[in-house]
């Protein structure tokens, strides 16, 4: 047991775990993550691909290995901190005495005789030492000892940082177990009562409905989107419970689920009109129908179907405007699906099919893409963030300092001893002690002010 806890509490383990996690993370950024199966076989070959899959490298950050190492790191953090905390706590609670033995062997120590010119030296000294905060005093035969115990609690800073990291872990676990990440596309005017949740096959029903009253997108001259927003209404039992606009970076929470404006798109709605030219006879036909139905070719020689729509097809960095992806059926021709572009009616001629397709008109309906998440762990994660940002400056830039000043009278002179220690950043501490020494000798040397 002690062996195990010794192992778990070692800093060596921390460092090794951190390095292994870093290396695995690098691997996770080099190997594409969560791609469809075939891709890995094509990229790496059968053997390597199946090795990667069994090691979990194709979904690294959720792989048993990675999660186990994170768990290990968490355990290491807990054991390590519990191991050291009692000792640190003692140092924080410790009240060093004003006995000369206590400061005999401090890293900083300066001893000197100073000529006494200032009869009010005690008052001057307490002015100087006042800057150090709470100062204890103890009189002894012909002299006095001052002691300042500065910010002993900063020794706890590192525990604040470590607990902040544990909070991130716990928050992450809570989010992963009890939270979900969902997505839903809603057409303008449509009402939905479910969302699609990542990792679940059937949609997740909601106990309320969401209606998209309106969707708007504005563009810059460059064609990049400037802003998009949806006007949403949440309905409970058929009654409107909340109407709210939803914009990027401004999420809305309803019924415990937070909605984010994440994407938008358009799809075909209503009637689509094609013009077909028979390449042999030159005859022109008009074919129209609802976008989601099958279309028939002239003379009932098979038909076609629209399997995709882009309001601006982009290929090799060029944009070609709106187009539909058409799949021919039952024509005897073995043609792969092809694009029919509105702006380039002649283009389809090159395909060399029986007909040349041209897209005459269509109706476009916008849909809004919402991210719909529940994450009960976020509060803990944010608490972790705050603690970390408080803990770091305390841990790195503050130190526990103990300063003793002994002033003893030996007739005309004063024997002054300044001693102290800092638990961190001794270089800066000894500089500041030199400064303090200067102030002290000035205070002791001050002539009595003339009225």
């Amino acid at each position: 047991m002690t062996k195990l806890s010794n192992f778990l509490s070692s800093v060596k383990l921390t460092v090794v775990l951190l390095i292994v996690l870093a290396v695995l993370s690098v691997v996770g950024t080099v190997i594409p993550q969560q791609e469809p199966a075939g891709l890995y076989e094509r990229m790496y070959g059968e053997g390597t691909a199946s090795l990667f899959r069994s090691l979990g490298f194709t979904n690294m950050y959720a792989s048993p290995l990675f999660v186990a190492l994170l768990g290990f790191l968490g355990a290491n953090l807990v054991v390590c901190s519990l191991d050291r905390l009692p000792k640190t706590w003692k140092l924080v609670r410790n009240r060093p005495s004003l006995n000369p033995r206590e400061y005999k062997q401090m890293p900083y120590r300066r001893e000197q005789f100073v000529k006494l010119r200032n009869p009010e030296w005690r008052k001057s000294l307490s002015n100087v030492l006042g800057r150090l905060g709470k100062v204890q005093e103890k009189e002894f035969d012909g002299g006095i000892v001052y002691f300042a115990n500065r910010t002993p609690w900063v020794r706890l800073g590192v525990y604040v940082v470590h607990s902040s990291i544990l909070l991130l872990f716990v928050g992450g676990i809570i989010g992963a177990v009890w939270g979900f990440k969902g997505h839903i596309n809603i057409l303008e005017g449509e009402t939905v009562d479910h969302i699609d949740v990542r990792g679940r096959h059937e949609p997740k029903p909601l106990d309320f409905q969401i209606r998209c009253d309106d969707f708007n997108v504005e563009f810059y001259d460059t064609g990049a989107p400037k802003e998009f927003r949806s006007d949403l209404t949440f309905l409970e039992g058929g009654k409107e419970a909340l109407s709210s606009p939803l914009r990027v970076n401004h999420p809305v929470t309803f019924g415990g689920i937070t909605f984010y404006q994440s994407s938008y798109g358009s799809t075909l709605g209503g009637e689509v009109v094609f013009e077909l030219v028979d390449n042999q006879t030159g005859e022109t036909y008009t074919v129209k129908g609802p976008a989601s139905d099958d279309f028939s070719l002239p003379g009932d020689q098979g038909g076609f179907r629209i399997i995709d729509f882009q309001n601006n097809l982009v290929s090799r960095g060029m944009s070609f405007g709106p187009g539909v992806f058409v799949h021919l059926m039952g024509t005897g021709e073995r043609t792969p699906p092809f694009w029919v572009l509105q702006k380039f009616p002649q283009l389809d001629q090159r395909r060399g099919g029986k007909y040349t397709f041209a897209l005459k008109s269509f109706q476009e309906v916008y849909y809004t893409g919402l991210q719909a998440n529940r994450d009960p762990g976020v509060a803990l994660v944010y608490l972790g963030f705050i603690l970390m940002l408080i803990g770091f400056p305390v841990t790195f830039f503050m130190s526990h300092r103990m300063i003793w000043l002994q002033v003893g009278s030996t007739g005309k002179n004063l024997k002054v001893i300044l001693a102290g220690t800092a638990h961190r950043n001794r270089l800066a501490f000894s500089k500041s002690m030199d400064g303090l020494w200067e102030e002290i000798s000035t205070a002791l040397n001050e002539e009595e002010r003339q009225p």
């Binding site: 950050y61 990049a224 970076n249 984010y260």
Partner: protein, 281 residues
């Protein structure tokens, strides 16, 4: 003067300053170091002017936003933070030899911004996800942190050179600061960088949560910033708990800065993800 002209000139000023500091390092001509400082300060002021002008110009174009939104602007800001960091350090410690190890980083950043054909220097409008108050907090903390790491890296290189010479028994390079001082300052820069990097990751995380609903999604840039964070965390634990110092710490510091550079550039060009808008095209 337009921002792009000013910033082009800044590139050459930083080059001039680097050359002066290097000249001082090689020939120990005191006046070269003094000039190096003044030239760097002049470049810094013009750099500041360029950033402010670019900010104003973006408003004149009707797409006003802080100039921290694409690769070009971040490179310009990176150079600015490096020089800021360095000038404060020089003022505090008076070690002008450090300039030769740090100022060139600012020059490279500006040169890359100005001359690389893959860096678009046009002022672009902000896509909706970037329209957030977190943008400024995130970019400023990250790049101040990167600058601190850049300075620490320069100091670590200096440390390795100096300690190698010393071990070889040579008393050359005497004019370089003592290894303990270099180590101390470098360590301080690493602490500052580490806190700022943490703050940068946290602000980015909070921002991502408000934009996409996930504070962490293991996108390559996020992952690489975490890798960088881990490298420096290892450095701190090795030093605090295992008493590592000297060359070993200097080497980790250089490795850490390589990770910074990969997080910054490598991810944009070699890997893809959420931060693709920060890439050039």
């Amino acid at each position: 003067m337009t921002s792009s002209l000013a910033l082009s000139i800044v590139t050459f000023i930083y080059l001039g300053s680097s050359v002066l500091y290097l000249f001082y390092l090689v020939f120990r001509t005191r006046v070269a170091a003094t000039m190096g400082t003044w030239v760097a300060l002049g470049g810094f002021l013009l750099n500041t002017y360029g950033i402010i002008m670019r900010w104003i110009e973006s408003y004149d174009l009707g797409i006003g936003h802080a100039p921290l939104s694409n690769l070009y602007e971040s490179l310009v800001f990176f150079a600015w933070t490096i020089i800021l960091c360095y000038l404060i350090l020089e003022r505090k410690y008076g070690q002008k030899t450090v300039g030769a190890f740090v100022v060139p980083f600012a020059f490279f950043s500006m040169a890359y911004a100005s001359f690389s054909s893959s860096v678009d220097s046009r002022i672009q409008p902000l896509i909706p996800a970037l329209k957030s108050n977190w943008l400024i907090a995130h970019v400023v903390t990250c790049f101040l942190g990167y600058a601190a790491f850049a300075v620490a890296c320069g100091l670590s290189v200096m440390y390795l050179i100096k300690s190698k010479k010393q071990r070889a028994g040579s008393d050359g390079l005497k004019f370089l600061p003592d290894p303990p001082l270099i180590e101390d300052v470098s360590y301080k820069m690493i602490l500052i960088g580490f806190v700022l990097l943490s703050a940068g990751i946290i602000t980015g995380s909070v921002w991502a949560h408000s934009a996409w609903g996930t504070y962490w999604s293991w996108d390559p840039k996020e992952t690489w910033s975490l890798i960088t964070w881990i490298v420096y965390a290892v450095l701190l634990h090795a030093r605090y708990m295992k008493g590592w110092s000297g060359n070993r710490i200097a080497v980790i510091s250089i490795v850490g800065f390589c990770c910074v550079l990969f997080t910054y550039f490598g991810v944009n060009f070699l890997l893809s993800g959420l931060h693709s808008y920060a890439a050039s095209s």
